[in-house]
């Protein structure tokens, strides 16, 4: 994937996952998995080492936590589920990092 395409995809992901119209929370199913979904794709697109170098990963994790908090506020999922998702993210991140090494 050349740089131009990579930027195009990045721009698209930012929009589709984080923007767009929002329906009333009581009408839609909870999408707590969305940040995980974003993580998968982002790890595939961006160089993990570069992300770590510039501290993007920590920013991203922080942002994901906020998203989870908002989801929690709206849908009241069980805290254990959120913890499990966080662990999954950490494992995914470590796996990708080891693979790069």
């Amino acid at each position: 994937m050349d740089n131009v395409n990579k930027i195009g995809i990045v721009e698209l992901i930012d929009r589709i996952l984080e923007k767009g119209a929002i329906l009333n929370a009581d009408l839609i199913i909870t999408v707590a998995e969305v940040p995980l979904l974003a993580a998968n794709l982002r790890l595939a697109l961006a160089n993990v080492e570069t992300m770590i170098k510039y501290g993007v990963m920590s920013d991203w994790l922080e942002a994901t936590d906020i998203t989870e908090k908002e989801t929690k506020k709206n849908s009241k999922p069980q805290p254990a589920i959120l913890e499990e998702q966080k662990q999954e993210k950490i494992l995914l991140y470590e796996k990708e990092n080891n693979r790069k090494k």
Partner: protein, 280 residues
Amino acid sequence: MSNNALYIYGIIKTSKNWKEHGIKGNNVFLINGRDFSAIAHRCEEKPYISNNPIEVKDLILAHNNILDKAMKNFDAVIPLSFNTIIKTSEEKTAEENLRIWLKDNKENLLKIWDKIIGKNEYGIRIYYEKKKLLEKIKELYEIKQLQQKSQIESEGVAYLLKGKIKDEINKKAQEQIFEYKQNFYNNIKELVSDITINRSKILLDEEKNLLVSISILVDKKQIQKVNSYLVNSNFYFNIAGPFAPYSFINPQESNFQDLQKSIISEVSETLKNKGFCRNG
């Protein structure tokens, strides 16, 4: 599980029928309200998720593909976020819930529609060349004076002056970057309907000198003018799109008003993140 939920891609202003193939080949159709229709497919009450990045990418591209086609066919589309799935409630089906939502939100949808019709969203990233910028600053009279002075002063004074030169270069760099952003903003705002600043969490290696990343809402006929401006502006840039107007669906806000403020606050943030002076 039965397919009693509805995956919603976006909203369009039509009462016609329209059929397409969407995520995982699902049959996409329109659910007509009185003025607006939702682009949907039937699905289970669970989000689309995969651990395989390629599958995830396909899901996202399939969502976007439907919105692209809707934009071409209906001149605009109000996009919804990925994985927006309407569920059934105790008394109502997902379809009934959706129709009620379309009816209750008619006024807001009309405002959004009027704002976006005939327009597309593009993402623009502007870069600066750090090396050239520093060379330019080092050629400034004030900096040269300080450098000359540091060469003839004693070791102690020269040391202090070196620190002052560093501070001065940093200050001039801030001023220059601010000027770049102001110039860019003043020119681009004349060509577009609206602007919003992007705060992407994704940083690509090639983008370490990113000056600003924005989304623009622009009339389809005006995009050539935007492109011409960028080509002739001496900025390094990247433009991506057209996209459905994801960043411009709040009719209450004028993003222009906040942009100036954002540009100012982002200058110091950019410099802080790039460690501008120390690495230069």
